[in-house]
Amino acid sequence: MGGIIARVLDTLAVISTVAVTGLMMFLVIARYVLGLSVVGLLELIMLAAVALYMTGALIASRKREHLTVDWLAGIIEAPGKKATHDALIAALTLVVTGFFVVWAYWMFSWGLERPQVTPAYRIPLIIPQLAIGMAALGCFCYALRDLIDAVKRMRAR
């Protein structure tokens, strides 16, 4: 299961990166070389970019690679204390990502009440917002995973 999710996330990251880079490059070539103006290309780029941001955020959560000030973690060496510290951090992360989920929920409920579209292709704004919702939920789940993992290690001692 974890392996499948990892592959899906990696694939999404590659697809969205290729889309952002390729479309942006096409924008330059279309304007400079071909003299074409494609109204709305930026909308597609933004769509792919938000997908890339949120996939990246999920990958960082999955690999526990979010930027962290780790001097306290560096000081704590005993495995028991380390597990306790990990559990504390995971619990805090769980609370905070819980807020993240709630905020994203409010964004959606508002978005359904007051739907918006992009100017050129009339893409509903709820689509890129969905990426943020997925990231919020995903990060919450990974925090839960980390908490369970840390508690198991605490109890194993």
Binding site: S37, V39, Q116, P119
Partner: protein, 308 residues
């Protein structure tokens, strides 16, 4: 005591629209004997154009002079209808309370949960460019012009014969300066003078749109006021609007002079040239608008628009 938040998406402190905010706020505070206080937020203080409009719709900001975006309702695009009016006199008739554009907007704003007070007119826009300019469709093909990503801004400039490019506002100066684009194509002369006068050489008054801000208030905030306070706020808006109508044309002409002094060449198409442009742009863009905002609104526009 009530505190209202008043914001704008365009205009720093001391700019014409910034001054209009201050004036509106002062009139309200004065008229209510300080019962209603007004907190003013100028351009960018609360975020981008889209962000501040979100805040207004949600009631976080109570009142705005805003330049509409079409994200919530495409019908607001009527404000960008090319060659809807072609002279100051016609513009004033159409936009003032009781005028046909004004009547049309009250309903659209009400559907968005906003109270529409009236326009805050700026003037006719044009094509500002660097190094070269165009008076004909053939010449225009040679120029790449930046347009905002707002339907039908790009379509209108394309119908005049120009190539267009959508570039984020924050990069427009650099893009003109380095030659990524040859100019800016949807603004009144004030903005091109204020922001880009060092790099632009020509301002061609093509007049495809009559640009105006909108004085508006969140309906919930409006209902939260007592009837007396409502009257003060609405009357203050009418005063600011009337002053804007009185001052806008003179200000626009003042900025034409300033731009000339700064070394820009001001170009004014003849009536005949203007009629040719208007006919051709209407023929190309209005059918596109019909698809987007419906035939009812476009029929109203066709019935009332300036005779060419």
């Amino acid at each position: 005591e009530t505190t209202l938040k008043l914001a704008t998406d365009s205009g720093a402190k001391g700019s014409p629209s910034g001054d209009a905010l201050d004036r509106w706020a002062a009139l309200i505070e004065e008229g209510t004997n300080g019962e209603v206080q007004v907190d003013v937020f100028y351009q960018n203080e609360l975020g981008s154009q889209a962000e501040v409009f979100d805040l207004l719709i949600a009631g976080d900001v109570d009142m705005m002079i805003n330049w509409p975006i079409t994200a919530y309702d495409e019908r607001l695009g009527v404000l960008f209808t090319p060659y809807m009016v072609t002279s100051w006199e016609e513009a004033l008739e159409a936009y003032k309370p009781g005028g046909w554009v004004n009547e049309m907007l009250v309903g659209i704003y009400a559907d968005l949960g906003l109270k529409f007070f009236g326009p805050w007119p700026e003037g006719f826009n044009g094509i500002a460019s660097k190094g070269k300019y165009a008076m004909t469709v053939e010449e225009a093909a040679d120029l790449k012009i930046r347009v905002p990503a707002m339907f039908p801004m790009a379509e209108s400039v394309q119908a005049l014969g120009y190539q267009t490019a959508t570039i984020d506002w924050s990069e427009v100066f650099t893009a003109i300066q380095t030659g990524v684009v040859d100019g800016d194509g949807a603004n009144i002369i004030y903005w091109d003078y204020e922001y880009f006068r060092d790099t632009l050489d020509y301002y061609n008054q093509t007049k495809q749109q009559f640009v105006t801000g909108i004085m508006t208030m969140n309906a919930g905030s409006w209902e939260g006021l007592s009837p007396e306070q409502q009257e003060v706020v609405a009357n203050a808006a009418v005063t600011v609007m009337e002053e804007a109508f009185r001052d806008a044309r003179a200000r626009d002409e003042g900025y034409i002079e300033l731009a000339k002094k700064a070394g820009m060449t001001y170009l004014e198409p003849s009536d005949e040239e203007l009629r040719g442009m208007a006919e051709s742009v209407r023929a190309q863009v209005w059918p596109l608008m019909e698809e987007r905002i419906g035939s009812e609104i476009m029929d109203t526009i066709r019935a009332n628009a300036s005779k060419l």
